[in-house]
Symmetry: C2
Subunit: 430 residues, 2 copies
């Protein structure tokens, strides 16, 4: 699926930049290099995104109790919100390695994550506190520091406003395609006539989770002006409707990290955008669009997944129940294998809804599969089997559910479950 | 796995009866016939279990909001606990058909379920209220009544104390083996010297859930004396530690039903066993043993499952969190494919635990796989890979987890996730 043609994410209203990515916004450079975390010298394994100057930075991390050392250290560096509070502050760069997750490594692991930050800071010319870190790869193995010693300076030397594509490739592990995009929004209607603001980003994470558990990592950059604490609100909202609405096999990684940097370079004399203003709303929409685009790409990527599946639930009693219902359907192996098999049987969807924890009456439930009604008032509606098979040829399958129990709604993305899923995850020997 | 050699369930202390089943207890007859619900005349598709006289009956049903007509009607017939209360009362027989679930069939479905009861009642010679019903098969299709007209009398004519085996076969859908067993316990130490009490049962439900969603149905019989409301307590306890602790792909059926009958025939002049007495405790242990035996058989059965997986969690903050943690591991496709692939990597187990909702500190977690320590204090412990591969040859794989956060514990059973799971569920066209 081409990001530029993502008709779903386009509903947020921003224009895509062709070949956009994490360096599309003014004042950001990036690089992707082979530092030596991976054996194959042709494999990029270290990414660096660096802002020309320190700027507002915010992050959202995995909620998994088993959280990795780089996550813990990045939280230490984005501490303006207090210990245990939202992660935001001022930063200059993010450095990401693949090949080793630095998870389940205890205090030595945290020391290594701090060294990763300090070695990078020396290369960039900033303080250790101004560098945030992320890692992805095998759990339980200590992070080798040697690759950083030459790798960090090499990455800094290579960093440029054209380096986004290499950075996007350097963070790939199980991904089959690099994931990046950028959008613009105009300052005309929001108090900055003639200014064009940009939001761009890159991400890794794929539908087929390899034995080393493919982490979701993303880096978003923007040249709009925002204060760190408000930037965290923007990110949090965008992540909750995008990355947090993607489920492939319901397991979250120990290393999931999403960073956003905002440097204000598109309008250097402008005041930071404040919540409640049209400018803030426009920025929110743009960040939403970038994150949703990247998240939907993640949901479909990976060897074996044949379909992007969009589970929409409406009519739920409240937001939490809408999420429970949609997620139960999206996580159901029965539903996902049925889609792989091009089977429009709604019984499996009902089974998942019925034990999801959402409250509703079965007589009020309606279900459509790929736009075809299959259930009304909890009873089967006949459908054209040939038409169903035709519609199953689409790359995106929509499951629309109305619980008839309220007004809350949500959308969750997933992919189907194929033979390759088992092959990839079951045929690997540790 | 042979039930008689189930060393786990044997911990409840009762002796197994060889080839025991739902007619092992005194005063019960059963039959399995081909009534015509299924096309193949060689396929048994209707089971009847009938008590010589009306006796105490209790049941536990699916909590799935999409609950089928036979479940709704059986609840109507076991109404001594009030509408919406525990299902118990007096009954004479249970009739079960395979081939059609009579689910998502609305009021006509309920009418058909009542007809199923009344036609069976006529054949048995009891009232409609004294017959409970269950169905398993395709959802959304109306129950044909014609097969019952000749089938019910045929089943009653064939019913005998030797009919348990046929009944166990008649309820099979995706099961690869019939599931039945019986145990005895002595009255010597519990106030009934010289009396031998029996608990037996049959069940259906398999690890490989077919497109028509293999329902879990079980029927337990005993010749111990118990009042209906107390019998419900026995069943409820046993079900919560057995059938409710089996998860294969985390979806529960619209038709899950578990019935128990107690007729007191082993000691016709004895008072009903009362909660809190040694006799009640002995009965509870026996029912637990039968249900756990049947449940463990369910967890492993089905084409493709190669292992029974036992997930034990201890050290949880409370019972609910122990269950969340164990269930998250047992439902994780990543964990289950790893077991299929003979991979002892604990990272996937950690990933499941960490997002399960259970509260703990990662530094306090210990994990053993097949008796080999792989994680201590949240850090990797090296293990002998060759020994791990040897142990993976066993039919039962144990995952033992200590969260170090309290005293609560639980056990959940599941099976591994193989290629056949996808084949069976994804290659079927509705």
């Amino acid at each position: 699926m081409s990001i530029v043609n993502d008709t779903f994410a386009s509903r947020f209203g921003c224009a895509y930049i062709e070949d956009g990515g994490v360096t599309s916004a003014k004042g950001f450079s990036a690089a992707g290099v082979h530092a030596g975390f991976r054996k194959d010298p042709g494999r990029l394994d270290m990414a660096l995104v660096v802002a020309d100057e320190p700027c507002a930075c915010a992050a959202v991390f995995t909620q998994n109790i088993f959280c990795a050392a780089p996550v813990q250290v990045s939280k230490e560096h984005l501490s303006e919100g207090g210990a245990g509070g939202p992660a935001y502050g001022t930063a200059r760069a993010v450095v990401i390695n693949s090949g080793c997750a630095n998870a389940a490594t205890g205090e030595p692991g945290r020391e290594n994550a701090r060294k990763m930050a300090s070695i990078t800071a020396d290369a960039v010319g900033c303080t250790q506190q101004e560098v945030v870190v992320a890692s992805t790869g095998v759990i339980g193995v200590h992070l080798p520091i040697e690759p950083l010693v030459a790798g960090a300076p090499a990455a800094m030397a290579a960093a440029s406003p054209q380096g986004g594509a290499n950075a996007a490739r350097a963070i790939m592990t199980t991904d089959t395609v690099p994931k990046e995009c950028a959008v613009t929004f105009s300052g005309d209607e929001i108090g900055h006539p003639g200014v064009v603001f940009t939001v761009g980003g890159m991400a890794k994470g794929s539908g087929m989770i390899m034995p080393n558990m493919a982490t979701m990592i993303s880096v978003i950059t923007t040249d709009a002006p925002v204060l760190p604490n408000d930037l965290h609100k923007v990110l949090s909202t965008a992540v909750n409707m995008s990355f947090n609405k993607v489920t492939v096999d319901s397991d979250t990684s120990t290393n999931d990290s999403c960073f956003i940097f905002a440097n204000g370079k598109a309008a250097p004399t402008a005041e930071p955008f404040e919540p409640g203003t049209p400018a803030f709303a426009a920025l929110q929409a743009a960040v939403n669009q970038v994150c949703v685009s990247l998240a939907r790409l993640m949901a479909t990527d990976g060897e074996g997944a044949t379909k992007l599946v969009t589970v929409s639930v409406k009519g739920a009693a409240n937001d939490a129940e809408a999420d429970l219902a949609a997620r139960a359907v999206a996580n159901s192996p029965l539903v996902k294998t049925a889609i792989f098999g091009h089977d429009a049987n709604w019984g499996r969807i009902a089974g998942a809804l019925g034990r999801s924890g959402a409250h509703f009456e079965q007589e009020n439930v309606s279900i459509d599969i790929m736009g075809m009604p299959v259930c009304r008032d909890g009873l089967t509606v006949g459908f054209d089997e040939d038409e169903a098979l035709r519609r199953f040829e689409d790359p995106e399958i929509a499951l629309d559910i109305d619980l008839g129990a309220g007004d809350a709604e949500t959308i969750i993305w997933t992919c189907d479950f194929s033979h390759d899923y088992v092959s990839i995850n079951g045929d690997y020997r540790s």
